[in-house]
Symmetry: C2
Subunit: 480 residues, 2 copies
C-alpha cells in the first residue's frame, strides 16, 4: 500500500498547528530528576493522555506507585499505555516515547526561556527544553493520528503506545511494567506486537537521516566524601582538617585521562580493538570531524581521525565527569570547605560490558585509591542507575521498511549507525517482547538534547512526521 | 578611669533589646558576592547608618562608584565613615567592621531560615547568617554607644568608625578610600587615630578569649576550562570530544595533596620550618585536637599532634578547593558534558608570601600542567582577589588594654594567637595609618562563619559588648 498523498499534504497544511501543539507540550516543565517538578510531570501525562484519547486512542494511565527522593515519598508519573486498531490482518507496531525532560534553567546559559518554545524564523529552529528530546517525536505520532482521523483514513497497521515520564531518571518502574504486561499474554497491552519503533535519538550529522541499530549502555555513579560536621571556613580550617573536596578531586582525577582513556583497571581490557574490516565501516559513514565540531560548537574532537572519533562514540566505552553536588557552584568566590561533596560521573558501556560488571570494577578501584589517602573522611560510592548496551539485527524487515520510508520522504538512503547514548528501554523491549526494535530518529545531531538551547528544526518535525507515517505504510506493505 | 558599673549593668538590662536589634540586622540579606542581592546590601547600609546617627554619630555614606559583575554594572555599597568625640585630651580609636555577609540558602543545609535570627533557648545560640560575621560585633559597638547615650555618660575615647559592605567580596574600593582619607591629613576622617580595633575573627576554641596579632593572607583564583560551544550530552559526545571537566579535575588534582601539602612548586619552599622555640609557643596555647574536632563537628584533624595542627592554621600556607561553577551541581543525575567549567580555589598565605608572588607560581604551574594534556580546550586562570599576610606587635599598649579588659570581663587572661583567616583591611590600616591594629574577637571558634547554621552565642554578644566598652576605658587609662 503506497502512502496516501492526502496524508503528506495534510501534514504540510497543518504544520503551524503542529508547532503550536509542540509549544503547549514544551510549556509544561516535566523535569523528572527534580522532585519539585513532579506535579508538572504528572500534568504532562494528563495533557498527553487527553491528546491521545481525543484522537481515538484507547489509553490506560498506569500507576507505578511511589519512590523516595531526598527522603520524601513521591508518586511516580504514570506510564501511558495506548492502543488503536485491532485488525488481525494488519501488523502491530509498538511506539515508545517519553514525556519527561532534562532539567533546564535560563541561568544555565539559555538564550531564551527554556520552557517556552521559540521559533527562530531565520533558521527554522524550534528552541525549547524537550523540543527534540522527546516531545517533538511523541507529537509526531499525534500528527500522524490527527491526519488519519481528519482525513477519515484507516491506519495501515495496528498501533500500540508506551509513553513514560521517567526516562531521564532511570525509567523507574518501567521495566517491571513491561515484564508484567508481557506476562499477561493475550490479556496484556503488548500482545501481538510485531515490531517496535522508538524515536529518541538523533542523526549523526545535520544532513543525513539514519537508522540506529546499536546503543551504548550506561552506569551512573555518585561518589560521596564526607568529613566535617558542617561546612567550614577555609581561613580557620585550611591545612587543619582533611578536606572532602581535596579527596574527591583526587578520586575524580583517577577515573579518566584527558584523552578519554578510562583509568579504571579492567574496563578498557573488556573491549577488543577493531580489525581493519570493522574500521572500514566507520570510515564509510557520512560523517566528518567537521560534523563533530559543528554539533559540538567548537573544534574540539579528541582525534583528527574520523574512524577513531566515530568508534569513540559507537563502539568504545566512555567516562564523563558531570559535576559535584555540595561544593560551591555559584558565581563569585566563597572561601568554604564543604563538609559533604558528591562527585557525579557515568560510564557509557558497549558489549560485553554490563552495569554490574562495571560497578564491581569502579567500586574496587575507587576504594583502593581512597585507601591510599589515609584520610579521616569517609567515602561512599553507589551505582545510581544503569542500562545494558544493545545491538540489533539491521537486516530485519522493520529496518527495511524504515529505509524505504526514509528514501521516500528524504530522497536519501539512511546511514546505519550505532549511537553513543543509552535508551535502556530499548533492550527491555527487545528482550521481553522478542521482536525487532528500530530506532528511527527525528532530530539532528546538533539538537542539543540535555543541553542549553535544545532545539528541533521545524523541517525535521514536519518531514519527520511524514517519515513515521510513511514508515507505517512500508511496514504494512513489506513481505514479513 | 575604671569602667563605670552603670554601663555594665545597662548592657545586662538591655540584653533582649540588643538581640532584637541583631535580628533586624540579620533579616537583611546583605550578600555582597551575588549581584542579585546588591539592593539588600545597600538597604543594610541605610539601616546601619540610621542606627549610628540616632546614637549621636556623625556619618558620611561614602560612594565608591560602580563595578561590573557578570557583565552588569552595579553600584558598590557605600562605606560608612563615622565619628563621635573630638576631645584632644582623649585617645582616638578607629573601629572597623563589615555589614555584608556570605551567601546562604536554606537548601545549603541550614536547620532554620538563614536570614531569620533564631535563638536556641537551651544553648543560647543566636543562629543566622551574619550573626557572628560581622553583624554581631558591629552591633556590639551600637550597644556601647546606646548605653553611654542613655546613661548620659561621656565616652572615654574619641571614636571613628569605618563600616564597609564588600568585605566578603574582596573589599572592592576600600583600600583606595583609606589611602585617600589618609592623604587628606587633618581634613580626613582618620586624622588623629591612635589605634585600630577590629572585631572580625574568633576565639580559637569555645572557652578562652584571645587577642589576635597575625593573619594569613589570601589569593583567590578562578581557573576556567572551556571547549564545546554549548553543553553536550555525554551519550553522543563521551569519548568524542575533549571534556572541560576532565581537564579541570586533572588541574585541580595537581594543586594540593590530601595531606594538605601544596603541590605548586615553590610555594612550600618559601616558609622556613619552625625551630624548637617557635614550636613551643604553639604547644602552650589553650587548644587541643579535641577543640579542632569539636569546632569542625567531627574527628577530622590532619594530625594527632596539637602543635602541627595549630601551625597548620597559623604559620603555614594552605590551599582549599571550594567548588566548580558551570558543572552539574544539583541533586540526582544529569548526563551532561558541561561546556565551560570554572574551578574555584584559594591559598592562605603567611609571610613572606604575597598574592603577587603566589600568583606567579600558580599561573606558571597550572599552565605547565595544562600544556601536558595537549587538549583542544582553552584555559584561563585569574587571581580574583588577594590580601597580604599580617603580623602585629602584641606588646603595644593597644593589646595591653585589650588584655586588661578581657581579664576584667571574662576573668581570664586571653591567649595571644595568629588566625588562619584573612582580613585584608587589617594590613591596609596598619600600613596607611601607621598605628597599631588589634584584632579583638567577639565570637567563638565554633560559630561557623561562612558556613551553614552560623551562630553567635548570646553570652558572647552580651559579654562581648561589655568587653569592647571596657576596652575603651582601659585604652583611656593606659600610659601610652
Amino acid at each position: 500500500m503506497a502512502t496516501p498523498a492526502p496524508f503528506l499534504h495534510f501534514v504540510d497544511q497543518n504544520a503551524q498547528k503542529f508547532v503550536d501543539r509542540l509549544a503547549q507540550a514544551v510549556a509544561i516543565p516535566s523535569v523528572s530528576v527534580d522532585g519539585a517538578y513532579r506535579p508538572d510531570v504528572i500534568r504532562m501525562s494528563a495533557w498527553l493522555n487527553s491528546q491521545l484519547t481525543s484522537l481515538g486512542v484507547t489509553t490506560q494511565l498506569t500507576d507505578l506507585g511511589v519512590h523516595v527522593v531526598d527522603g520524601k515519598e513521591l508518586p511516580l508519573p504514570p506510564v501511558i499505555l495506548g492502543k488503536i486498531g485491532d485488525d488481525p490482518k494488519k501488523k502491530t507496531v509498538l511506539v515508545y516515547g517519553h514525556y519527561d525532560v532534562q532539567p533546564a534553567e535560563k541561568s544555565d546559559g539559555w538564550d531564551t526561556e527554556p520552557f517556552e518554545l521559540v521559533e527562530d524564523k531565520e533558521t527554522g529552529r524550534l528552541v525549547g527544553r524537550g523540543s527534540t528530546d522527546d516531545k517533538g517525536p511523541i507529537l509526531g505520532w499525534l500528527n500522524v493520528l490527527e491526519a488519519h482521523k481528519s482525513l477519515g483514513l484507516d491506519l495501515p497497521v495496528n498501533l500500540r503506545f508506551c509513553f513514560e515520564g521517567m526516562e531521564e531518571s532511570s525509567s523507574d518502574g518501567l521495566d517491571e511494567l513491561i515484564r508484567s504486561e508481557v506476562a499477561k499474554g493475550n490479556q496484556g497491552w503488548f500482545h501481538g506486537v510485531d515490531c517496535v519503533c522508538i524515536s529518541d535519538n538523533y542523526w549523526q550529522n545535520t544532513r543525513t537521516p539514519c537508522l540506529t541499530y546499536g546503543l551504548r549502555g550506561i552506569a551512573f555513579f555518585h561518589m560521596t566524601v564526607s568529613g566535617p560536621g558542617r561546612d567550614l571556613h577555609s581561613g580557620g580550617f585550611g591545612r587543619v582538617v582533611h578536606e572532602p573536596m581535596t579527596d574527591l578531586i583526587f578520586l575524580m582525577g583517577r577515573l579518566v585521562a584527558p584523552d578519554g582513556t578510562i583509568l579504571i583497571p579492567g574496563v578498557e581490557d573488556m573491549i577488543a580493538p577493531p580489525d581493519a574490516e570493522e574500521r572500514a565501516i566507520y570510515e564509510k559513514l557520512d560523517y566528518s570531524i567537521e560534523d563533530v565540531d559543528e554539533t559540538a560548537g567548537a573544534s574540539i574532537a579528541l582525534s583528527d581521525d574520523k574512524a577513531t572519533v566515530l568508534m569513540g562514540r559507537m563502539r568504545m566505552p566512555a567516562l564523563s565527569l558531570h559535576g559535584i553536588e555540595g561544593a560551591f557552584s555559584g558565581p563569585g568566590g566563597k572561601t568554604v570547605i564543604p563538609a559533604h561533596v558528591a562527585g557525579k560521573f557515568s560510564l557509557r558501556l558497549v558489549p560485553p560490558q554490563t552495569p554490574a560488571s562495571i560497578e564491581t570494577l569502579v567500586v574496587k578501584h575507587v576504594k583502593e585509591e581512597f585507601a591510599k589517602l589515609k584520610s579521616k573522611n569517609t567515602l561512599t560510592i553507589e551505582l545510581m542507575g544503569g542500562g545494558m548496551p544493545w545491538v540489533e539485527d539491521y537486516k530485519h524487515w522493520n529496518y527495511e521498511a524504515a529505509r524505504r520510508a526514509t528514501e521516500a520522504v528524504y530522497k536519501q538512503t539512511p546511514d546505519l549507525t550505532r549511537e553513543g547514548g543509552s535508551i535502556p528501554v530499548t533492550l527491555t523491549f527487545a528482550e521481553n517482547l522478542g521482536v525487532n526494535v528500530l530506532l528511527l530518529p527525528m532530530g539532528r545531531g546538533d539538537d542539543g538534547a540535555h543541553s542549553t538551547n535544545e532545539k528541533l528544526d521545524r523541517s525535521n518535525f514536519i518531514e519527520g512526521s511524514k517519515l513515521i507515517g510513511t514508515y507505517l505504510y512500508e511496514v504494512a506493505a513489506i513481505n514479513a
